[in-house]
């Protein structure tokens, strides 16, 4: 044996003080589907961590072989016992097993060490990059901050997606729901938002936490690789509770994610937490509640399903200066069935959040990506966080698009259109083209302002629809090369002064003259 190991054992024996405390225990009466019924533990409290004593009755050698401590979480307090969920392998639990009360409430580690790591809902590393050494334990369940400690949302959180930053702006501390059917680009919006944070100065850059609930491990692995490739992993934590994880861990994962975020918020940092997705968390909680024999309600969800999401999303906040001025922005994701936003869980979460981004599968199939339906998407508090520059160029965009959608429907049966209507339709088509954006390619806000300014000035009016995106990227390249000072000014001041407008007009004219061939409608 190595000398250092021997020394370690000697040190451990020398400093060892036997625990003389009396422990409170209970016994497993039944176990099944990850839930245990326990006799005793009359002093247990709701949400307490309990430890299964696997070594009782076994030899020392067998006790040493058991792989780590096995814990459970108390979820039901009953007249003659408690019911708890097993936070691990339920095959290790047997009837008659002794369970010890720990007196601890479930906590997860948090700190700078977790950045760039993939962890479980209990904060255990899953990426094979080693254990954490310096972390702070944060309670998974905690009261949200009250009104006195909060401040209204006023700082923008740039997603890098033109359609969102222009029409459905999100502020730091806001809760904005991303809702839509399966495969409509919900996760893409969330991941692009994380990637876009790399354009923020390091001191203002939000810490990003992506919570994957009930997702395929392959999808999470792809997201991790995408973030790493984009250089976004160093400021991101990934909490993974895959579809194969017990329902208890899928239910706990969002709370673990926000608890990790609270550590940074309490230190005055901005945090962005993405819950992908809360429909699966609700399903996991329903499973758990039914196994715990809680009375089922609508769609067999338990009575406290609203509280499940409200207490989570209420923890998103922008704190006052007295509390350090940190914030948690929450982007929960909900998957709808056949576009039904009026279902039980979607309406619950819509009512809790400060707005929603609705993704429409028909728009997605038409090739409009991101497939945001601006008609029913809304941001209730974000406009106060939008920069003046963005407000000035995006003011008419929403209305223009809404008018276009109406005319588009009318156009299908109208024979002749007057010139004003035809112009409006042409402008609308170009607006739609401008709003299209590739995934994984967020655009910094100053460049978005330039594109939207150009759209507002009908710059794309003479460009063939099929070439709008090409012209847009050429224009951005041109401005980036020739007018980088002006871009920096927009980013710094967040305003387009009259002087800047003149310079932008000049830039557009210069570009038009240099690329005459692109401006011949055909």
């Amino acid at each position: 044996m190595e000398q250092s190991i021997v020394q370690k054992i000697v040190n451990e024996i020398e400093k060892y003080a036997p625990n003389a405390d009396v422990e409170h225990v209970g016994r497993v009466t039944s176990v099944g589907d990850g839930v245990v019924s326990i006799d005793g533990l009359s002093r247990a409290v709701m949400g307490e961590i309990i430890q299964f004593e696997e070594t009782a009755g076994r030899s020392l050698a067998k006790g040493m072989q058991s792989s780590g401590a096995l814990y459970g979480l108390v979820l039901n307090l009953e007249e003659d016992g408690v019911r708890a969920t097993i936070l691990g392998d339920s095959a290790r639990v047997s009837e008659g097993m002794t369970i010890k009360s720990t007196g601890r409430i479930l906590s997860v580690p948090s700190g700078d060490e977790l950045l760039g790591r993939v962890v479980s809902a209990l904060g255990e590393p899953l990426d094979g990059k080693g254990q954490f050494s310096k972390t702070t334990m944060m309670p998974v369940e905690r009261d949200s901050y009250g009104v006195i400690d909060r401040k209204s949302v006023s700082v923008p959180l740039q997603t890098g997606i033109k359609a969102i930053d222009a029409m459905i702006p999100i502020g730091r501390g806001q809760r904005e729901l991303i809702i839509g059917d399966r495969s409509t680009g919900k996760t893409t919006i969330a991941i692009d938002t994380i990637i876009n944070q790399k354009y923020e100065p390091a001191e203002k850059r939000p810490i990003c936490i992506y919570v994957a609930i009930g997702q395929k491990e392959s999808k999470t692995a792809r997201i991790v690789a995408q973030l790493a490739e984009a250089g976004a992993l160093p400021y991101t934590i990934i909490v993974d509770a895959p579809a194969s994880a017990p329902a208890a861990l899928q239910f706990l994962a969002p709370y673990a994610g926000v608890a990790m975020g609270e550590y940074f918020m309490d230190k005055g940092r901005d945090v962005l937490v993405i819950y992908d997705d809360l429909s699966k968390q609700a399903t996991a909680y329903r499973q758990l509640s039914l196994l715990l024999r809680r009375p089922p309600g609508r769609e067999a969800y338990p009575g406290d399903i609203f509280y499940l999401h409200s207490r989570l999303l209420e923890r998103a906040a922008r704190l006052s200066e007295n509390k350090g001025g940190g914030s948690i922005t929450a982007l929960p994701i909900i998957e709808t069935q056949d576009g039904d936003v009026a279902a039980y869980i979607p309406t619950n979460v819509i009512s809790i959040t400060d707005g929603q981004i609705f993704l429409d599968s028909s728009l997605f199939n038409k090739g409009n990506r991101p497939a945001i339906d601006v008609g029913i998407s809304v941001s209730r508090v974000g406009s106060s966080a939008q920069t003046k520059a963005m407000k000035s160029v995006a003011g008419t965009l929403r209305l223009g698009l809404a008018q276009f959608r109406e005319l588009e429907a009318f156009m299908q049966f109208a024979q002749d259109l007057d010139k004003t209507t035809a112009d409006r339709i042409e402008t609308g088509r170009r607006m739609v083209e401008v709003m299209k954006q590739k995934n994984g390619a967020p655009i910094p806000v100053e460049k978005q302002v330039v594109v939207l300014y150009a759209t507002d000035k009908k710059f794309f009016a003479d460009v063939a629809i099929a070439r709008v995106s090409e012209v847009e990227s050429l224009l951005l390249e041109f401005v980036d090369g020739q007018y980088s000072k002006e871009l920096a000014e927009i980013k710094k001041t967040g305003v387009i002064s009259d002087e800047l407008k003149t310079k932008l007009d000049r830039a557009l004219e210069e570009f038009r003259l240099a690329h005459r061939e692109l401006f011949a409608k055909s």
């Binding site: 036997p18 225990v25 016994r27 005793g40 009359s42 040493m64």
Partner: protein
């Protein structure tokens, strides 16, 4: 339902009614309500209540060797006194896996002073680092 009947039976027997009379009365009530089919389930629930009560009130001192019992009882004296347990109520069991020391289980209370526990604690502390 069966649990509620078993609990009611337990309470009336504890209240002083003769067990035979209590069961007869229960059968009459069940018969009147057309629920005699519940009887086997009630019997099972009653036996669970009984074993729960037994384990709640039992005090077991586990030692690695029977010769350790006297010393263990002496060491556990303060704990027994604090918990209001009389020495006569303590049952002694031998569990060789404890290696040495003792382990006292009194209802919901546990005091583990066995060598096995100490060695496992040290092992966990060493392997955690």
């Amino acid at each position: 339902m069966d649990k509620a009947y078993a609990k009611a039976l337990w309470e009336i027997v504890e209240g002083g009614m003769a067990p035979k009379a209590a069961v007869k009365r229960l059968c009459e009530v069940l018969g009147a309500r057309g629920r005699l089919g519940l009887l086997p389930k009630i019997a099972r629930s009653f036996s669970i209540l009984s074993s729960r009560d037994r384990s709640k009130n039992s005090v077991v001192l586990k030692v690695a060797r029977s010769s350790d019992a006297k010393h263990a009882l002496k060491e556990a004296g303060t704990f027994l006194k604090d918990a209001g347990i009389k020495l006569g109520d303590v049952r002694t069991d031998v569990e060789e896996s404890l290696i040495g020391g003792w382990r006292l289980e009194a209802g919901e209370l546990l005091r583990d002073a066995s060598y096995k526990r100490r060695l496992l604690d040290i092992y966990e502390n060493v392997s955690e680092e």
